[in-house]
């Protein structure tokens, strides 16, 4: 048991727990019994809070643990995370503004709310909501994997249920303060999380290369290790550069992940919680600061190779757990107290997104399933109550997920989630601009994209871990089959499954739209107007927040002209 690390970790963990509970009173509105307040923090976060919140939301334990682990085990392909977050912001810069405005104008809390209003179709909204919940669940589980990697490195490496017990305790605490404080809890804790993370990474990327003989040495060691033969596959592990067959995969994975990023319900939650369009625009320029951090962090995977770090054997599975590479690197190279800070940074870094994701999933459940199908006349207070309960259910669902599934597959789970959520792009993102695609065509495209995506993922083996199915998201073009037709012969070049599935989805949506338009099938009623997509915080006659009939506090503070 690593006592020093454990004490530092526990102290910081207790501190954020305290923050999580008092957050309920932070900038609180008149009531927490409304989804605008519990689920969106009162829709009034300014530039700084939004930066910490969205940053804490998007750059998760997946970032801290799994990306470096991927570089550690496979080399350059793992670095896709950097181009992914570079293009994500220019890509969503404009659509996100429209999403914020229409949601502010119409009181939407979830992306599925928007689809409901845009197409007047509760079925399409339900599909979008379910897709969001299903894609978010493994993402929450992934946060648990990050947390558990840290706990195991600190000595809580038990087998069976006992091995998961510390994780369970941490999550119960998280569940309780999220239940009480809603989105304000992760927003406040995100400050602590990000400051710790920046501190740890900056120290790590300056101190470790000096200690290990410089970057030249590190890349040299990494290349030697990666190009040696992996006994499980008989091929090299990887390379520090891309090869001829994985460049297309690298680019399409980066692009597909960027497209998916703001389709995730928790990203939308972070966006809708901000005060106005200006806050969002500034953040699109400020959020890439995290990308720099992410790139540096990823390189720690190579640093770990150079330092001779060995992944810990997970006593629950009996196999080496790649996700422990970074915690083990910190354990081996830093003084115990600083390793404790690093562990706290990763641990808290798992809690913030887990809280936001569970809130987002709870919002989806409440707005698009409960209120739509179970209790149509639910009051705002009942909605808030339902969402609070749903956030508990979602979190424990994720725990069950993690206890029964090997943590080694964390990154693959997230990649599957990415493939799934991408299939809502036509109904959510394209619909922000046009209603040309017919609602039944969107449903058809969704079915095809999702089905085809899952079939392709199912067929991808992973020789390194000896699994025949769901071994990754890189599909050799030679295996790409359209009803038995192989358009690319037996090309070994790889492509991202999500990208292919989305292409299929769009094609089907396009064709069905063309056909269905000749048959005069209703395309639903659009409750949004052109103006809705341009409202801003100071627009006159805005719908009041939290339905209290009073103007939000900011209006009072705004200077009279």
């Amino acid at each position: 048991m690593a006592w020093t690390q454990l004490i530092v970790f526990s102290a910081l963990f207790l501190f954020v727990t305290y923050m999580g509970f008092v957050a309920a009173r932070w900038k609180s509105g008149s009531t927490l019994d409304h989804l605008d307040e519990w689920g969106l923090g009162g829709r009034k976060f300014g530039a700084w809070v939004t930066w910490f919140l969205v940053g804490g939301d998007l750059y998760t334990a997946y970032t801290f643990v799994a990306v470096p682990a991927l570089l550690f085990s496979a080399g350059a392909t793992g670095f896709f995370a950097l181009p992914y977050t570079i293009i994500a912001y220019p890509l969503v810069f404009l659509p996100v503004l429209r999403m914020w405005s229409v949601s502010r104008a119409r009181g939407y809390v979830t992306p599925a709310d928007f689809v409901r209003g845009r197409y007047g179709s509760s079925l399409l909204a339900l599909l979008v909501a379910i897709t969001g919940i299903v894609a978010t669940m493994p993402y929450i589980a992934l946060q648990l994997v990050g947390l558990e990697a840290v706990l195991r490195s600190m000595g809580f490496n038990g087998a069976g249920f006992l091995g998961h017990l510390p994780l369970l305790i941490a999550f119960v605490i998280l569940a309780l303060y999220t239940y009480q404080s809603g989105l304000r809890a992760p927003a406040l804790i995100a400050f602590v999380k990000d400051i710790l993370i920046y501190l740890v990474i900056l120290v790590a990327v300056i101190y470790l290369p000096i200690k290990l003989g410089g970057w030249s040495e590190i890349f040299g060691d990494a290349q030697d290790k990666l190009t040696s033969t992996n006994e499980a596959t008989g091929k090299p592990y990887g390379n520090i550069l891309l090869g001829p067959n994985n460049q297309l995969q690298y680019a399409t994975l980066a692009f597909g992940s960027a497209l998916a990023l703001f389709l995730y319900p928790h990203s939308v939650t972070g966006i809708l919680a901000s005060r106005g369009r200006d806050v969002l625009k500034r953040n699109m320029s400020a959020l890439p600061a995290y990308s720099l951090l992410l790139g540096l962090l990823a390189l720690l995977g190579f640093v770990a190779i150079s330092a001779g770090t060995k992944p810990l054997v997970n006593n629950a599975t009996g196999r080496p757990d790649g996700n422990t590479v970074i915690p083990e690197l910190f354990n081996g190279q830093f003084p115990a107290w600083f390793a404790g800070i690093a562990f706290a940074a990763i641990g808290i870094g798992a809690l913030v997104p887990a809280a936001i994701m569970s809130i987002a999933a709870a919002n989806l459940w409440t707005r698009n399933v409960y209120k739509e199908y179970i209790r149509r006349d639910a009051s705002h207070a009942q909605e808030a109550k339902q969402a609070k309960l749903a956030s508990l259910v979602v979190k424990f669902g994720a725990i069950v997920f993690i206890i029964f599934i090997d943590p080694q597959y964390a990154i693959d789970l997230q990649l599957i989630g990415g493939v799934i959520i991408l299939q809502t792009l036509p109904a959510v993102a394209i619909a922000l601009y046009t209603r040309w695609l017919h609602r039944w065509a969107l449903i058809a495209g969704w079915v095809v994209g999702l089905g085809w995506g899952m079939i392709m993922l199912y067929g991808i083996p992973n020789p390194a871990t000896k699994r025949a199915h769901f071994g990754g998201s890189a599909l050799p073009l030679g295996d790409l089959s359209i009803l038995g037709w192989h358009p690319f012969g037996d090309s070994p070049m790889q492509i991202y499954v999500g990208f292919v599935a989305l292409a299929g989805n769009l094609l089907v949506a396009l064709i069905v739209t063309l056909v269905i338009r000749r048959m005069n099938v209703s395309n639903g009623v659009d409750e949004t107007t052109g103006e809705d997509y341009h409202v801003d915080e100071h627009t006159e006659n805005l719908r009041p927040i939290a339905g209290t009939g009073t103007e939000p506090p900011k209006a009072e503070a705004a200077p009279a002209p």
Partner: protein, 94 residues
């Protein structure tokens, strides 16, 4: 230059501004062959890595320029003291 209709002084429909095209520039990072190489190295880092770090700055520049150039000329509502990022504002609650 807004290419779509404004009705009753309010913006509707699509607003297109040529500056927005700058948002396409960072996408050159998807063309892997232009940077997938070892040389030239920078402080021991292969070109593949430091080029992508450099592209972060390009991405930031593109969004900043678009933000600045497409900002609406201050109208009656946005009077003078735009709450600043540097003042830890959260402008509203007091």
């Amino acid at each position: 230059m807004t290419s779509s209709g404004e009705t009753r002084g309010k913006v509707t429909g699509l607003v297109f501004n040529p500056w927005n095209l700058l948002l396409i520039v960072p996408f050159i990072i998807l063309l892997t062959p232009i940077y997938n190489m070892q040389e030239p190295e920078f402080i021991g880092m292969p070109f593949f890595y430091w080029f992508q770090f450099l592209m972060i700055a390009v991405g930031v520049a593109s969004t900043i320029i678009v933000y600045r150039m497409t900002r609406k000329v201050p109208t009656d509502t946005a009077s003078g003291d735009d709450p600043d990022v540097d003042t830890l504002d959260e402008g509203s609650v007091r």
